[in-house]
């Protein structure tokens, strides 16, 4: 029988459990965001289009999932290098924030008093920046922890 219990390209058993809990939290975050959106629309009338609403509700949910996974060390598979993840999140943050600023400057984000789908660039940019910040912070904590080991 082999010593190694898992494929290094898979998440290990603790990570799978942590990711399950993160999915649970993300699900409730999505429900909360949808409820908030429904209440705001009921109170203030239509203030954003369907695409913007979907994007604005999905982003907090994805952020909750990613940050929970990062904080519980379940975002990276064993032996997976962090550089790829940092590059991807950095790229997403920069491109979407730049596009978001362009959209805001061109006045595409609010049309006839309604928030449009173009707000999603800014939302995704902020989401990627938050995930990246959480990831870098976690790497610093892990490095410190490793030095103390």
């Amino acid at each position: 029988m082999k010593n190694n219990i898992g494929n290094q390209s898979d998440y290990d058993e603790r990570q799978i459990a942590a990711r399950g809990q993160a999915f649970q939290l993300a699900y409730f975050a999505l429900l909360g965001a949808l409820l908030l959106y429904a209440c705001s629309e009921g109170l203030f009338g239509r203030w954003c289009d369907a695409g913007a609403a979907a994007g604005l509700c999905a982003c907090p949910s994805v952020t909750v999932f990613a940050v929970t996974c990062i904080w519980r060390d379940a975002y990276r598979r064993p032996n997976e290098r962090p550089a790829g993840m940092i590059a991807l999140m950095g790229f997403l943050a920069v491109v979407n924030l730049a596009l978001g600023i362009v959209r805001i400057c061109e006045g595409d984000v609010v049309q006839e008093g309604i928030l449009t789908f173009f707000i999603c660039n800014t939302a995704v940019g902020v989401m990627a920046a938050v995930i990246l910040a959480a990831y870098l912070l976690r790497l610093l904590v892990l490095r410190k922890e490793r030095e103390e080991e």
């Binding site: 029988m1 010593n3 190694n4 219990i5 898992g6 494929n7 290094q8 290990d12 058993e13 603790r14 990570q15 060390d73 990276r76 598979r77 064993p78 032996n79 892990l142 922890e145 490793r146 080991e149």
Partner: protein, 64 residues
Amino acid sequence: MKNLRLKAARAAKDMSQQQLADAVGVSRQTINAIEKGDYNPSIRLCAAICRALGKTLDELFWEG
């Protein structure tokens, strides 16, 4: 509760958490969480750790 016996057995073999993690196919943080008592491993993972360290389940995980 901290698993000091696991930490001691690993240190006796002169293995780092990363080396033990690589030997059993989990992340270093999982080994760290087991040693700190933050994660209760499955019997399969316990057995793999015991094999890697040349110890029995009783020696590392049984709290009599």
